[in-house]
């Protein structure tokens, strides 16, 4: 659990982070969104003390983050920096091994961990381990950056726009990987992003920053349904709102009785994808099947349109 209490950061006269308080529950993902310069990176870096706050406290699992020397604190927190920050003079494997090495793990354990992480990110250890960062594509570099942050199995992971340089397909894949890893290890993640879509998709809760202030911190559905200010409303994008709301729900939760003709939609697809499929096929309804292939019922345009309306 991360408790941020009345944290403020001032540079000279400029208040970059202004009296922010928020609690991130253990084993959840908090997504921080906001315009450029709103203080997202600064807030994130105060958690691992790369930036010292002007006032306020941050507690990790109830312990003030100033109770340890800064370098020890940082070794226990994963940090994926904005723009990967890989060491150009070290191989991919050596890069990933950085924190385990600092913690004094033995070689065998480090090698095992490096291989495990590379495989997790779909990078063949034999082919990619000995390469240097400049021999990777931008997307591969970013994945290695995230793998490096995860190397010492931190309970807390800070990520600063980790998927910025990825094309939409790899990006979606990387997001799925991250969700799987987060579920598997139960990591608490704070993720900074520019992309509302990504925040809605990954965040259990979303924090919206504007000019150093935390203007809203709530579940994605609530942010969409009840934006706290016109700024949040703009950020959510009024033309995208209904579709983002649908993207939060699964087809399985919107199944109606009956049957329909056409290509079946899997129950674990998002309602948004289902609506897109329906509109594209020109049909009012399509069948739904479960993971085992069994027919569950049907999904209809009318039903989804009702779900996409602003909640009362």
């Amino acid at each position: 659990m991360i408790e941020i209490e009345n944290i403020t950061k001032r540079y000279d006269k400029q208040t970059v982070v202004n009296d922010v308080s928020m609690v991130i529950e253990p084993r959840t993902i908090a997504a921080i969104v906001g315009t450029s310069g709103s203080g997202k990176t600064t807030l994130l870096r105060m958690i691992n003390r790369l930036v010292e706050p002007t006032s306020g406290t941050i507690k990790l699992d109830g312990v003030d983050n100033h109770s340890l020397p800064d370098y020890e604190l940082r070794r226990s927190i994963g940090y994926a920096i904005q723009g990967h920050g890989l060491f150009p003079h070290r191989t991919v494997a050596q890069n990933i091994a950085t924190v385990p090495l600092l913690l004094g793990w033995d070689k065998e354990r480090i090698d095992e961990r490096v291989d495990e992480l590379l495989r997790l990110f779909q990078l063949d250890p034999a082919a990619f381990g000995p390469r240097y960062p400049h021999e990777l594509s931008g997307g591969q570099q970013q994945r290695v950056g995230v793998a490096r942050a995860l190397a010492a199995k931190p309970n807390v992971l800070l990520m600063d726009e980790p998927f910025g340089a990825l094309d939409p397909i790899i990006r979606t894949k990387a997001q799925e990987d991250l969700l799987a890893i987060q579920k598997h290890f139960g990591t608490t993640i704070i993720l900074v992003t520019h992309d509302m879509e990504e925040a809605v998709h990954l965040g259990h809760k979303i924090a919206v920053m504007d000019g150093g202030r935390l203007v809203q911190y709530a579940k994605p559905a609530e942010i969409l349904a009840k934006p706290a200010s016109s700024f949040v409303e703009t950020l959510v994008g009024s033309s995208e709102r209904p579709f983002r709301l649908l993207s939060l729900g699964r087809v399985g939760d919107a199944v109606e009785k009956g049957s329909a003709e056409g290509e079946a939609i899997p129950a674990d697809a998002s309602q948004r994808d289902a609506l897109a499929e329906l509109l594209w096929s020109g049909k009012p309804a399509l069948p739904v099947r479960g993971a085992d292939g069994k027919a569950l019922g049907r999904i209809t345009v009318d039903g989804l349109v009702k779900l996409a309306a602003r909640p009362a």
């Binding site: 940082r74 920096i81 904005q82 990967h84 920050g85 890989l86 060491f87 150009p88 924190v99 600092l102």
Partner: protein, 388 residues
């Protein structure tokens, strides 16, 4: 088929053509200080030798002039250089009258220009071959061994510069040792002192401009003036600090020369350290801090390795500069090859000047080749390790 010329080859051909036909190959002097008379290739070598050498040079000029395969150019340049090295020795014994120990034969402008032209051709070929650093050092070694063998064989003994050497064999090696000790010693001292200063300047921004400006000003003080400025303080130290004189600290001699070379060396070392450290990617530094490296771990694990090639470039500049500058040390009794240069100037004996200058230039040249190779090795070691 149109004849195509090589651009550099045109220059080389012009120089070599002029040197072979219009410039004297060797100089004959009745004794070591009178002005000499030039001798052209045909006059300087015995009957068949002259025409043979000329024919070889003409052939090589054509190889250089036209767009020819690299292998031809390599063979041509090496063949001419070897022929010149042998021919000048032959000219020495041929031109020296029998039983005359006063006459001096020395290489003349034609010889030096030919050496220059075909070294240029060789250097161009070697650059175009893109040889690996190890091969380049290997070639340097082979050249050094070849020159050493020629010296040992005695085929150059009739040349004036070696006659000067014969008169001073003992002091030559003593001065050589002093020269190298001065150049290397001041470099080591400059690195030991300059690296920490560079690191400090990098970390503490307020120091940077001040320190670099002071070092810049030192760099612009002419060496003679710097020696003069050092005589006072060092002399005072020798007189008033117990043990200083015993360490060899004096107003004149090796101490001020060493201090001056050291001061000249500081700027390139400090400046390149600062530039190298500043060039370390900001993100890599941030990541190092973010992952919990201490300042020291970050310095040695991230900043230094990344700045190293730039720092080495500074060290290369200093070494080559020091080997040259160390000749000046002789002015204040600091020893080194400069001793021969200044004695030679004093006696208007050019041969003696050459005895000091040729080893200095060769040493600087060799140091540059070796350090360039080392710099390339450290910069590419990343990639090579990756393959291994």
């Amino acid at each position: 088929m149109a004849i195509r010329f090589d651009k550099l080859g045109v220059v080389i051909a012009a120089i070599a053509g002029y040197a072979a036909f219009f410039a004297p190959f060797a100089t004959f002097r009745a004794n070591r200080i009178v002005p000499g008379e030039g001798r052209f290739i045909l006059d300087a070598l015995p009957a068949v030798g002259g025409p043979l050498l000329l024919a070889l040079i003409i052939a090589a000029i054509f190889v250089a002039l036209l767009k020819t395969p690299l292998a031809w150019r390599l063979v041509a340049s090496v063949a001419v250089l070897i022929a010149l090295a042998l021919a000048i020795g032959v000219a020495g014994s041929f031109l020296t009258p029998p039983n005359n120990t006063f006459a001096r034969i020395s290489p003349a402008s034609g010889f030096w220009l030919l050496i220059f032209a075909f070294t240029l051709l060789l250097a161009d070929v070697l650059t175009r071959l893109e040889l690996s650093p190890f091969v380049r050092i290997g070639i340097l070694l082979v050249a050094a061994v070849a020159v050493g063998a020629l010296l040992a064989s005695g085929s150059w003994d009739s040349l004036s510069i070696l006659k000067e050497y014969a008169n001073r064999a003992g002091s030559f090696w003593a001065e050589a040792r002093k020269h190298v000790a001065l150049a290397l010693g001041s470099l080591v001292a400059a690195v030991v002192v300059g690296l920490p200063i560079g690191i400090l300047c990098h970390r503490v921004e307020v120091l940077r401009a001040g320190v670099l400006n002071v070092l810049n000003i030192i760099q612009t003080i002419p060496s003679i003036a710097l020696f003069g400025m050092l005589i006072g303080p060092l002399g005072w130290l020798a007189l008033h600090v117990p043990g200083a004189a015993a360490l060899g600290i004096r107003g004149i001699g090796t101490a001020p020369a060493f201090v001056a070379l050291f001061l000249y060396s500081l700027l390139p070392v400090v400046a390149n350290t600062v530039v190298g450290l500043a060039g370390v990617p900001k993100a890599a530094n941030e990541a190092a801090r973010g992952m919990g490296m201490t300042d020291r771990q970050r310095l040695f694990g991230v900043e230094f390795p990344l700045a190293f090639p730039v720092i080495l470039t500074g060290i290369r500049i200093v070494l080559v500069q020091n080997i040259g500058l160390a000749t000046i040390a002789a002015l204040i009794g600091g020893g080194g090859f400069g001793v021969f240069v200044f004695q030679g100037v004093g006696q208007t004996a050019m041969d003696l000047v050459l005895l000091g200058a040729v080893p200095t230039v060769s040493l600087a040249f060799a140091a540059a080749i070796v350090l360039d190779a080392v710099i390339e090795l450290t910069a590419t070691s990343r990639r090579r390790e990756a393959v291994a």
